[in-house]
Symmetry: C2
Subunit: 110 residues, 2 copies
Amino acid sequence: MASESMSPELMRCVADRFKALAEPARLALLHALRGGDRTVSELVEVTGMGQANVSKHLQVLHGHGFVARRKDGLFSWYSLADQDVLRLCDIVCGRLEKEASAQQRMLANG
Amino acid sequence: MASESMSPELMRCVADRFKALAEPARLALLHALRGGDRTVSELVEVTGMGQANVSKHLQVLHGHGFVARRKDGLFSWYSLADQDVLRLCDIVCGRLEKEASAQQRMLANG
DNA sequence: TCACTATATTCCTATCTGGTTGAGTAACTG
DNA sequence: CAGTTACTCAACCAGATAGGAATATAGTGA
C-alpha cells in the first residue's frame, strides 16, 4: 500500500483526511471524546466553543469517519470511531516531544 | 502522552503538523522522496509543479521536520527525515482502503 | 395545537493559503 | 569579470474556510 504510484485522487483523499485533523478545534473535540461518548451540548461546555461551531466541526469529523454518531431523542451522542485517530495524534505528539527534548539538550550543551 | 489535558498551544502545534500534510502537492513531494534523495529540479520534473511552488512546499515540510535538506554546490538535495511520515500516511491509506472494500461489500450484498 | 429544547444548517465576513510571476541570491564555468 | 544554473524570496490574486449570528429542523411534553 501507498507504494509505487498514487493517483491524484487518492492523494487528495489522504490530504482531506489530514485536513480534517489540521484544526485545533477539531483536535479539542477528539480529545474530549477520549473520555467516552458526549453530546453536542457537553462538548460545547467542555471546549467553550459555540454550538454551531461544534456541530459543524463534528460533521466534518463524522464525514471523514473519525467519529461515530448515535441519535437518542433530542440528543446526538458522538464518540471516537476507532483507535486510528489516537495513533495518528500519538505519532505527531511523539515527534513534538522528541524535538522538544532535543532542543533542551541543545540549550544545555550549547 | 496525549492523555488527560492538552494545552491549546500543543493542540495548535499538532494541528500545524497535520496541516503540513493536508495538501496533495506536499504529499506528492513526500511520495516522490520515497525513492530516495531528490533535487528541487527533479521534484519539479516528477510532479509537474512550478519550481517556486515546489520550493515553497519543501520549506513547509522542512520547517516541520518531515524532510531533511543537504546542500551540494548549486543543488539542494531533499530526503525524508524519518519513517514517521510514512507511518502516518499508511494509517490514513489503510482507513481509505478499509472503507472502499466495505463500500464494495455494501454494493455486492445490497 | 403550541412552546421548549437539542442539534443542524445557512449566510456573512475576515482570514489564510496555494499557485503564479518576477526579482534576488549563491555557486559554478569560462 | 560576465553568463548560466539552481534555488529562494516577495508580492499578488483567487479560492477555501473558521467563526458567529440567525434561522431551520426535529423530538418532547403540556
